[in-house]
C-alpha cells in the first residue's frame, strides 16, 4: 500500500516535470505579441485602401496650417496689417517680443513637428510607392504626383519660416539624435524637382475635388518662381493658370465669399472642410495620443501640444470679436450663432484699415463694423436714481455736463432689439457732440487722453449706441507705447463667417480654405512684370482685379484712388498694398513681406507694438526649443541668429 502510493507519487513528479518542460518550450511563442489594432506603414502600401489612407495622411499637414490658429500666427500676425488681439496666445509672433513663453515654444514646436511628420510621411510614400503591388497604375501615378507636390509645399513652408534647416528626402527608419542643416538653395532644388515631377503625374481635373491637380501645381510653381525671383517663369506659370477657361473673377465680393458659394471659379486650390460632425467637432481624441490601454486621449505625452489636426475651418471664431462684452456687460448684445463667438486673436493695424477706400472698394464692405442689438435684457434702461453710485445707465454727460432726460422714460430701454448697438467708424467723431457714459470722470479739456481704464464709451446722442472711432481704437498709451485699448474693439473681416453651425460651441466650420485663388495669379504676374520693368503690364493685371472689386466695376477709378493711374505708378509697395487688400488673412502676408524684403520696414512703419522689437533677424523664426533640446549636436545645428 505504502509502496504503491510512493510509486504513484513518483509518477506524478515525473509528469509534472514533463509538463513543465513542455510549457517552457512553448514560452517563446506564448510571449510573442500579436496585436490586432496596430498596423505598419509597409502593410498599408499593399492595398488601395491602405494607400489612400497613407496619402490622405500626407494631406494632414495642411490642416494644421490652413484655417488654423497656428497657421495664422505664422502668416498674418506681426505684419503690417495684423497685430495682437486681446486673447492672443502668441505674443512673440505678434510683437516679436524676445521673452518666449512656454506656450509660444510649444505652439511653434507643434508646427515644426507636424510639418516634419508630414515630410516624413511623404518621404515614406515616395520611397515605397513604386514597389506597391497595386495594379491601378493611373491611381499610383496620380497619388505619387500629389505627394510630391505636398512635400514641395511643406518644404517651402519650412524653408521660408526657419531658413536652411533639416532637409531629407528619405524616410526616417531609426531613432535620430543628430541633424544637419542644408542650404536654402538645396531646399528649393527639392521643391522644384518635386513640383516638376508632380506636374507630370497629376491630372488636370482630379478624381476628387480638393486633391492636387495640374493647375494647382502650376499656380504654386508661379509662386515659387516669385520667391526665387525668376520673374519670367513666375509670370509664365501665372499666365498659364489665368488662361484656363475654367477660372474667372466673380464681380461681387460678397458673392465670392458667400458661404453657399464655397466652390467657385476663383478657387484654384481648396483645402476642403465639411460640416460632418465627426470631422468638424474637435473631439478630444483628435488632439493627442491615445492611451493604448484605455483608448482614451492622453494630451501630448509624447509630442508637442497646442495643435489641432481635425475640426473644421476655425476662422469663424479666431477673427471674431466679443461684441457681447462691449462694454463688459454687453450693450444689447448676447452671443449667438448668427453673430458668432469671438476669440479676439489678431487685431488689424490702423494702416490696414485705412488702406481701403470706404466708398469704392467692395472689399471694405466685407468688414463688419456694425452690430445690431439682439437681446432685450442687456439693453440698459433709463433709471431714476438719486445717488451717483448706482445711476450709471442713465447719466449722460456732454462736455462734462449732465444731460437731463425725461423722467417718464424711467425703466424704459435705451433702444430696442433690432436697433444698432455698436458701431466702429473710420471717421473721427467730434467727441464734444457725443454723450459720455460715465459720470465720475471729467472729460479732459486739454485734449489729453481720457484716464478711463477701458473704453470711454461714447454714445450716439440719438440712437444711444456705442460708437468707437479710429482714434479710440488705436489710441496709444503714452506710458507703454502700446495700444491703450485692450484690443477688443475693431472691425472684423468677413471672410470666415458661418452661421450654419448647429452649436455656438463649434470652433470649426465647413467653409473651405482657399490656399490659392485666382487673384493671386494676377498679383504674381503683376509683381513679376514690375520687377521686369514693365509697369504697364502690371497695371493691366491689377486693373483686371480692381474691375471686379470696385463698387460699380470702375477698376481704374479705384486704382486711381489708391494712387495708380498708369504703369508708372505701380511699384512693389503698391503691389504689397493691393495684396493686403485682396489676400489679407489668407496665409500670405508674412511670407509676402519677407519675400519682398519689406518685413522690417513695413512693420516698423505700420505696426507700433511690433515696431519696437523687430530686427532684421526676424526674417527667420526661432527654431523651437524642443528641436534643439533633442539634438546631441545642438551647438553645431544652432539656433537661428539673433534669438
Amino acid at each position: 500500500m505504502k509502496i504503491n502510493s510512493n510509486k504513484y507519487i513518483m509518477k506524478k513528479i515525473l509528469s509534472i516535470i514533463l509538463l513543465t518542460v513542455l510549457i517552457l518550450q512553448g514560452c517563446d511563442d506564448f510571449l510573442e505579441e500579436e496585436p490586432l489594432s496596430i498596423e505598419t506603414a509597409e502593410s498599408y502600401m499593399e492595398t488601395v485602401e491602405g494607400l489612400e489612407s497613407l496619402v490622405g495622411s500626407a494631406y494632414i499637414g495642411l490642416r494644421v496650417w490652413y484655417g488654423r490658429e497656428n497657421g495664422w500666427d505664422f502668416t498674418e500676425a506681426g505684419t503690417d496689417i495684423y497685430g495682437r488681439g486681446f486673447d492672443n496666445r502668441s505674443a512673440a509672433f505678434c510683437t516679436y517680443a524676445s521673452a518666449l513663453s512656454g506656450e509660444e515654444q510649444e505652439r511653434s514646436a507643434a508646427i515644426w513637428y507636424e510639418l516634419y511628420v508630414a515630410v516624413n510621411t511623404c518621404n515614406f510614400i515616395l520611397a515605397n510607392i513604386d514597389d506597391s503591388p497595386i495594379e491601378d497604375k493611373a491611381l499610383l501615378n496620380s497619388r505619387k504626383g500629389e505627394v510630391s507636390f505636398l512635400r514641395a509645399h511643406y518644404y517651402w513652408q519650412i524653408v521660408e519660416t526657419w531658413g536652411g534647416v533639416y532637409l531629407s528626402t528619405e524616410p526616417t527608419v531609426e531613432a535620430q539624435h543628430v541633424a544637419q542643416r542644408s542650404s536654402v538653395n538645396d531646399f528649393y532644388d527639392v521643391i522644384f524637382s518635386d513640383l516638376e515631377a508632380a506636374l507630370e503625374l497629376v491630372p488636370e481635373i482630379p478624381d476628387q475635388y480638393g486633391r492636387i491637380s495640374k493647375p494647382i501645381v502650376e499656380a504654386f510653381l508661379a509662386r515659387m518662381y516669385l520667391f526665387r525671383e525668376d520673374w519670367a517663369n513666375a509670370k509664365l506659370y501665372a499666365d498659364r493658370v489665368i488662361n484656363y477657361p475654367s477660372y474667372s473673377f466673380i464681380p461681387e465680393v460678397s458673392e465670392l465669399w458667400h458661404l453657399e458659394n464655397d466652390i467657385n471659379s476663383e478657387v484654384i486650390w481648396p483645402i476642403v472642410y465639411s460640416d460632418r460632425p465627426s470631422t468638424t467637432t474637435p473631439a478630444l481624441r483628435d488632439q493627442g495620443n491615445i492611451d493604448p490601454n484605455t483608448k482614451l486621449p492622453v494630451l501630448w505625452d509624447n509630442s508637442p501640444g497646442f495643435i489641432q489636426r481635425e475640426g473644421g475651418n476655425s476662422g469663424l471664431v479666431q477673427w471674431q470679436i466679443r461684441y457681447e462684452e462691449i462694454p463688459s456687460s454687453g450693450w444689447g448684445m448676447v452671443r449667438d450663432i448668427a453673430n458668432g463667438r469671438g476669440f479676439l486673436r489678431w487685431m488689424p493695424t490702423r494702416f490696414f484699415i485705412e488702406l481701403y477706400d470706404t466708398d469704392q472698394d467692395q472689399r471694405w464692405q466685407l468688414f463688419q463694423k456694425v452690430w445690431i442689438a439682439n437681446d432685450l435684457t442687456s439693453i440698459p434702461k433709463y433709471k431714476l436714481s438719486a445717488t451717483s453710485e448706482s445711476g450709471y445707465e442713465t447719466e449722460f454727460y456732454l462736455n462734462g455736463i449732465m444731460v437731463p432726460w425725461d423722467v417718464s422714460l424711467d425703466g424704459q430701454p435705451l433702444f430696442d432689439v433690432g436697433d444698432t448697438a455698436i458701431v466702429f467708424t473710420r471717421e473721427p467723431i467730434d467727441t464734444t457732440q457725443y454723450l459720455r457714459l460715465f459720470y465720475n470722470l471729467p472729460e479732459p479739456t486739454d485734449g489729453s487722453p481720457s484716464k478711463d481704464f477701458f473704453m470711454p464709451h461714447y454714445l450716439h446722442p440719438d440712437g444711444k449706441y456705442i460708437i468707437v472711432d479710429m482714434n479710440e481704437m488705436f489710441r496709444i498709451s503714452p506710458s507703454t507705447g502700446n495700444y491703450a485699448q485692450t484690443k477688443i474693439y475693431y472691425p472684423i473681416n468677413g471672410k470666415y463667417r458661418d452661421s450654419t453651425i448647429i452649436s455656438i460651441d463649434h470652433t470649426g466650420a465647413k467653409r473651405d480654405i482657399w490656399a490659392i485663388r485666382l487673384a493671386e495669379m494676377y498679383l504674381i504676374a503683376a509683381e513679376a512684370a514690375v520687377n521686369m520693368g514693365d509697369g504697364g503690364t502690371a497695371y493691366d493685371y491689377l486693373l483686371e482685379i480692381a474691375n471686379n472689386r470696385a463698387v460699380g466695376g470702375d477698376g481704374a477709378g479705384l486704382l486711381a484712388t489708391y494712387g495708380a493711374v498708369g504703369g508708372d505708378d505701380v511699384d512693389i509697395d503698391f503691389i504689397l498694398d493691393e495684396r493686403a487688400r485682396e489676400l489679407a488673412t489668407e496665409h500670405h502676408r508674412w511670407f509676402d513681406l519677407k519675400r519682398t524684403g519689406k518685413l522690417v520696414e513695413r512693420v516698423r512703419t505700420h505696426n507700433p507694438e511690433a515696431a519696437k522689437n523687430i530686427q532684421e533677424f526676424h526674417n527667420l523664426r526661432f527654431i523651437p526649443q524642443a528641436q534643439l533640446d533633442a539634438l546631441y549636436n545642438r551647438d553645431e545645428f544652432g539656433q537661428n541668429p539673433g534669438y
Binding site: A41, S57, S98, A99, H177, F453
Partner: protein, 982 residues
C-alpha cells in the same frame, strides 16, 4: 539507534497547564514539542497537556503564535506549568514571503508585516490607505477625498522614469493590480517586501516593492460568527480660503485701477460683467463651496462565519460599504463577498479556494467647464452672483459672461460607474512525504466595468446633450506551481522552493458616445435614437503575458545563521521580440546572524534580548511598459482628410507613420544592497529595526526623445540610470506595562535620496520631461521668484512691459535678460523624510490610540495658488501688491492682462507638515459581562480621521497632505464602530 533503544526503556510522562501572562487565562492550542524529535502535542481547551519524554535530559519547547517560545528542561519534574509571555514583537510569527511562509526570526531581508487588527485602526474604503505610516519606506498619499477613490503608493522612492512605479500587490499568491477591492476586515495580514533580496523572488516588477495580502482563513474549531461595523460622519473640514465676497469686490475693483492713478475709481460697469454688476448693486453673496458640499457619511457592515473541522475549514463573509461623499452627487457603494475554503481530502492531498466577489457602484458626475472639477469650479466662481433664479432653478452660467458652468449643474449630469470583479484562486496541495509539497494554483481575476454618462440639456445650457458608455472586459489568469522542500536535519533547517508561473491578461475596452438623444431619460440605454452623425466608437484588444521560473534556497543553522539564495528567470511579452530581449534573470542572496542566540550573549539576554544582523543583495526587473510599444507603425487614433464638393465631401481615415519600431527594448534592472539590524532590549520591551539601503537602476525604460525634424518624437528605449539610498527605522517600545495600564509607542522614520545618474547618452538634462542628472525624478523646474518689483525699481531685466507689482525672478546666468536659461530646479516632490509617532494607551478595557504623521522637506505644485490677475476667477485670499501696500510676496492684480508675468512661480510651495491623523478611543466589554450572553467579544470604538493639522509650512492652512490641491475637499471622518464575535 542506541538512543532509540534506550528511550524505549525510560519514558517519563510530563503534564502541566499553560496560562497567558496578560489575563492568567488558560491557553489552548499551544504546541508542546520534545526538542530534536517528532514527538509533540497541543494543549486542550483548559490549557492542559500531557506528553511522553524520553528522559530528564529532554528539552520541551512550548510555542504558539503570538507568544514567545519557551524551552524548559524536564529534569526530574513531571508537572511543568508555564505562564507564556505575549510576543509583542512577533518574532515567532509566521510571515508570508513570496511563494511561501517563514518564521519572522528566520528572515534575512527587509520585510514588514502588518496584522489585520492594525489595518482596522484607520477607517477607509481602501485597505492600502490604512498602511500609511505603518511601514517605514512606504509612502502613501491618501485618496483625494472622492468617494471610492484610490491611493498613490511608493516603496523606497521612485527609480523608474516611465514604467510604472506602483508596488505589485499580491493577494493570496496571485497579483491583483493596484486596485485592491478587499474589505479590510477580511485581511489576515499584509506583508511589505522592501529590499531586493525579498522582492527578487518576484523578479519582474519586484523593483517597486511587493505588497502581499493574505486573507483570513477558517481555523479548525468551533464555528463562530462575527460582525464588524461602523458608521461615520464626514465633514469637509476645510473651506478653501478664497476671497470673501467683500474682499473679492475690492480686489476686482483694484484690478481695474491704473497703478499710476490709483486714486481714480474705475467705473463699476467696466469692472463687473452684467451679472456681477447686478450682484454688486444688490449685495448678492453666494458661498459656492457651501452649496456643493454637504455632510457625508460612511457605513460599513461586515458579517461572517468561520470555523471548521479537521477536514474542512472555512471563512465566509459578506460586506456592504456605503459612502455618501462630501460633494453633492458623489456616492459610492460596494458589495462584497468572500469565501475561503480548504478541504483535506487525504493525508497527501488537500485543496481549496480563496474567492472574492465585489460589485461597486460609483455615482456622481465630475464634469465642469474648463476642465475644472466640480469643487474647483465652486472655489473659483465669483461669490457675488446668484446661484439660483427666482424659480429656484440653478443658473447655468451664473457668472456670465464668464462661461463657467455652474457646479450645481452636476445634480443633473449623470455619470455612473459599475464594476464587478471576481478574484478567485483554486489550489491543490500534494504532500509527497513529510517536507516535500507541491502546490498548484490557478487564479482568475476578471473585471467588467461599465461607465455611462449623460449630460442633459438643462445642465449643458447652449451646448447640445451628450451621452455615452464605456465598457471594459479586463481579465486574466495566473497559474503557478510551487514545489517546496522543508526539512530540519538536527540544527540544519533547509527550505527549497521551485516555482513555475504564467500570467496572462487581456483588456478589451469598448466605448461609444454620441449627442442629441431623442429622450434624455433613456440615458445611454437607447443610443440608436442619438443623432447618428455624432456617434463615435472605439475598441481595442491589449494582451500581456509573463512567464517565470525560479528557485530559492533558505538555510538556517541552529537558529543563528541564516543564508538565502534565489534566482528567477522572467520572460515578458511587452519587450522587443526575441529571447535575448524578452528574457532576463534576477538573482538574490542574503545572510543574517542572530547574535543573541550565541552562547556568549547568554548573560546579556536580560538587556539585549534579541539581535539580528542582516545583509542582502538582490536584482529585480521592470518591464511594465505598454504592450505593443516596441512595434512602431501608424497612428492608433483616426485623423480625417476630406475631399469633395460642399455637402458631399468624403472623409478619408488617414493613418501615417507615427511610431518608430524599437528592436532591442529589454528589462529595466535594479540592483539593491540592504543592511539591517534588528534588536530587542529588556525582554523586547524596546524593539528596533534599522535598515540602510542603496540601489542602482539601469537600462531604465523611457521615452527617448528623438529629433523632431526626423518626423518622430520619441522611441521607447532603455537608457537612463538612477540611484536611490535611504535609511529606515522603526522603534516599538512598551513604556508602561502593568496589568491594568499599558502604554505603547511606535515610531517609524524613513529618509531617502534618489538621483538620476544618467540620461540618454550625452545629455545631462531633459527639460521637456523634467529630468536632470543629479536630481530626483520629480522636480519642479522653473524661474525662481525673488520678490515683487516695487515702484522706483529700475529693472531693465524684464523689459518695458514689466510694471511695478510684477513678479521678479532671478537672472541666474547673469546675462541681464530673463530667458529659458534662468530656469532652475526649485525643489522636488519627494520628501526628505517621513515619520510617524503613534501611541496606544490601554486601561483595563479602554484603549486610546493617537497617531501622528509627518512628511518633511518636499515641494508641491499647489493648484490652490493658481493666480488670475484679471480676477476672472476667484483666487486664494492673498495679500496682493498695490501702490499702497508694497507686498514683496504676491503680485498686483490687473484686469488688462490674462496672465501675470511668471505667475506660475506662485504655485511652488514647500509643503512640510505634521498632522494628527487619527485618534481612536475603544472599549472592550469585560468578559464577565459577556459570559451570560452568546457574545464572546464586544468592542466599541470612536475615532476621528484627519483630526488636526499640527504644523504646516503652507500658508492659509491648506491641507498639506493634498499638496495644496483644490480638486476635492478633504473630509474629516468621525466614526462609531462595533466589533462582535459570537
Amino acid at each position: 539507534m542506541l538512543l532509540t533503544v534506550l528511550n524505549a526503556f525510560s519514558q517519563i510522562t510530563v503534564t502541566g497547564k499553560i496560562t497567558a501572562d496578560v489575563d492568567q487565562m488558560p491557553l489552548p492550542g499551544v504546541n508542546v514539542l520534545v526538542k530534536g524529535t517528532g514527538t509533540g502535542t497541543i494543549t486542550d481547551a483548559d490549557g492542559m497537556y500531557e506528553i511522553e519524554v524520553p528522559s530528564g535530559e529532554a528539552l520541551l519547547v512550548f510555542s504558539m503564535v503570538g507568544m514567545l517560545t519557551e524551552e524548559m528542561s524536564v529534569g526530574d519534574r513531571t508537572v511543568i506549568d508555564l505562564i507564556m509571555v505575549t510576543d509583542i514583537i512577533g518574532l515567532q510569527e509566521i510571515v508570508v514571503v513570496g511563494y511561501g511562509t517563514m518564521k519572522k526570526s528566520d528572515i534575512a531581508g527587509s520585510i514588514v508585516s502588518v496584522k489585520g487588527d492594525e489595518l482596522l485602526e484607520v477607517k477607509t474604503n481602501n485597505v492600502l490607505e490604512s498602511l500609511q505610516g505603518k511601514v517605514p519606506g512606504l509612502d502613501i498619499t491618501p485618496s483625494d477625498g472622492r468617494a471610492g477613490s484610490g491611493v498613490d503608493m511608493l516603496v523606497r522612492g521612485k527609480r523608474s522614469l516611465q514604467a510604472e512605479s506602483d508596488p505589485l500587490v499580491i493577494v493570496d499568491g496571485i497579483p491583483m493590480g493596484t486596485k485592491v477591492d478587499i474589505n479590510p476586515n477580511d485581511i489576515e495580514s499584509i506583508e511589505i517586501l522592501k529590499d531586493a533580496a525579498s522582492t527578487a523572488i518576484y523578479g519582474s516588477r519586484g523593483a517597486n516593492g511587493i505588497i502581499l495580502i493574505t486573507t483570513k482563513k477558517g481555523t479548525a474549531g468551533e464555528a463562530k460568527a462575527y460582525y464588524n461595523g461602523y458608521f461615520g460622519i464626514s465633514d469637509p473640514y476645510q473651506h478653501v480660503p478664497v476671497f470673501s465676497r467683500d474682499d473679492y469686490v475690492e480686489a476686482k475693483i483694484n484690478a481695474n485701477r491704473d497703478i499710476y492713478n490709483w486714486e481714480v475709481d474705475p467705473d463699476p460697469i467696466s469692472v463687473f460683467g452684467s451679472t456681477e454688476y447686478f450682484g454688486y448693486q444688490n449685495d448678492v453673496t453666494t458661498d459656492w463651496q457651501d452649496l456643493i458640499t454637504r455632510r457625508g457619511h460612511q457605513q460599513d457592515h461586515h458579517f461572517g462565519f468561520t470555523g471548521g473541522s479537521d477536514k474542512v475549514s472555512y471563512n465566509a463573509s459578506i460586506s456592504y460599504f456605503n459612502e455618501k461623499g462630501v460633494v453633492i452627487q458623489n456616492d459610492y457603494k460596494r458589495y462584497s463577498a468572500q469565501l475561503n475554503l480548504e478541504a483535506k481530502v487525504s493525508e497527501w492531498l488537500s485543496g481549496g479556494t480563496m474567492t472574492q466577489i465585489v460589485h461597486k457602484v460609483l455615482d456622481g458626475a465630475d464634469v465642469s467647464s474648463s476642465n475644472y472639477s466640480v469643487f474647483t469650479s465652486a472655489v473659483r466662481l465669483s461669490p457675488m452672483v446668484e446661484a439660483y433664479d427666482s424659480a429656484g432653478n440653478y443658473i447655468w452660467q451664473p457668472a456670465a459672461p464668464n462661461p463657467r458652468k455652474s457646479p450645481l449643474a452636476t445634480v443633473d449630469d449623470v455619470e455612473e460607474d459599475r464594476q464587478t470583479r471576481i478574484f478567485s484562486n483554486v489550489y491543490a496541495t500534494v504532500k509527497f512525504f513529510e517536507g516535500l509539497t507541491f502546490r498548484s494554483t490557478i487564479g482568475v481575476d476578471y473585471t467588467t466595468k461599465r461607465r455611462g454618462w449623460m449630460y442633459p440639456q438643462k445642465a449643458e445650457g447652449e451646448a447640445i446633450t451628450e451621452n455615452g458608455a464605456e465598457f471594459r472586459l479586463d481579465g486574466g489568469y495566473t497559474w503557478n506551481n510551487i514545489l517546496t522542500f522543508d526539512k530540519t536535519y538536527g540544527l540544519h533547517h533547509i527550505i527549497f522552493t521551485g516555482v513555475h508561473e504564467m500570467q496572462y491578461n487581456r483588456l478589451e475596452p469598448y466605448e461609444f458616445s454620441g449627442k442629441e438623444q431623442a429622450d434624455e431619460r433613456s440615458l445611454w440605454y437607447f443610443m440608436e435614437t442619438n443623432n447618428l452623425d455624432y456617434n463615435e466608437m472605439s475598441s481595442s484588444l491589449i494582451e500581456k503575458k509573463l512567464v517565470s521560473v525560479l528557485g530559492r534556497l533558505n538555510y538556517t543553522y541552529n537558529n543563528k545563521y541564516i543564508l538565502n539564495g534565489a534566482v528567477r528567470f522572467d520572460g515578458a511579452s511587452e519587450l522587443s521580440s526575441g529571447r535575448k530581449n524578452k528574457w532576463d534573470y534576477f538573482p538574490a542572496a542574503s545572510i543574517a546572524w542572530r547574535i543573541s542566540e550565541e552562547g556568549f550573549m547568554e548573560n546579556m539576554r536580560d538587556i539585549l534580548t534579541d539581535m539580528k544582523i542582516r545583509l542582502s543583495y538582490g536584482s529585480t526587473g521592470n518591464a511594465s511598459i505598454d504592450p505593443y510599444s516596441t512595434f512602431g507603425g501608424l497612428n492608433d487614433w483616426i485623423m480625417y482628410v476630406e475631399f469633395g464638393e460642399q455637402g458631399s465631401e468624403t472623409a478619408i481615415q488617414s493613418r501615417r507613420p507615427t511610431y518608430l519600431a524599437a528592436n532591442s527594448v529589454t528589462w529595466e534592472r535594479t540592483d539593491q544592497v540592504n543592511f539591517g539590524i534588528d534588536f530587542g532590549l529588556f525582554q523586547n520591551r524596546i524593539y528596533a529595526n534599522f535598515d540602510l539601503y542603496a540601489n542602482k537602476t539601469k537600462n531604465i525604460l523611457m521615452d527617448d526623445r528623438v529629433v523632431p525634424s526626423s518626423g518622430y518624437y520619441s522611441i521607447i528605449a532603455n537608457s537612463a540610470e538612477t540611484e536611490n539610498r535611504g535609511i529606515e527605522l522603526s522603534l516599538q517600545t512598551i513604556n508602561i506595562s502593568t496589568p491594568s495600564f499599558k502604554w505603547k509607542t511606535n515610531i517609524t522614520f524613513a529618509a531617502s535620496r534618489e538621483e538620476i545618474t544618467k540620461l540618454t547618452s550625452g545629455v545631462t538634462q531633459d527639460i521637456a520631461n523634467g529630468w536632470f542628472v543629479g536630481e530626483p525624478l520629480d522636480v519642479f523646474y522653473d524661474y525662481q521668484k525673488i520678490g515683487i518689483r516695487q515702484i522706483g525699481d529700475a529693472d531693465s531685466l524684464y523689459g518695458a512691459a514689466y510694471m511695478p507689482g510684477d513678479i521678479r525672478v532671478a537672472d541666474l546666468d547673469g546675462n541681464d535678460t530673463i530667458n529659458d536659461l534662468d530656469k532652475t530646479v526649485l525643489g522636488s516632490e519627494r520628501p526628505k523624510w517621513i515619520g510617524t509617532f503613534d501611541n496606544v494607551f490601554t486601561y483595563k478595557g479602554i484603549s486610546l490610540s493617537v497617531s501622528i504623521y509627518a512628511k518633511w522637506g518636499h515641494m508641491v505644485d499647489a493648484g490652490a495658488y493658481e493666480f488670475d490677475p484679471r480676477m476672472y476667477n476667484n483666487i486664494i485670499d492673498l495679500e496682493y501688491w498695490t501702490p499702497l501696500n508694497n507686498s514683496n510676496e504676491n503680485p498686483r492684480l490687473d484686469a488688462s492682462i490674462t496672465e501675470a508675468p511668471f505667475e506660475y512661480t506662485m504655485r511652488y510651495r514647500e509643503a512640510s507638515f505634521i498632522k494628527l491623523r487619527q485618534v481612536t478611543l475603544g472599549y472592550d466589554l469585560p468578559q464577565k459581562l459577556l459570559e451570560k450572553t452568546t457574545i464572546s467579544r464586544l468592542n466599541i470604538y470612536f475615532s476621528i480621521k484627519n483630526a488636526a493639522v499640527l504644523y504646516s509650512k503652507m500658508e492659509k492652512g491648506l491641507d498639506p497632505e493634498r499638496d495644496g490641491d483644490v480638486d476635492w475637499p478633504l473630509a474629516r471622518l468621525y466614526t462609531v464602530g462595533i466589533n462582535v464575535d459570537f
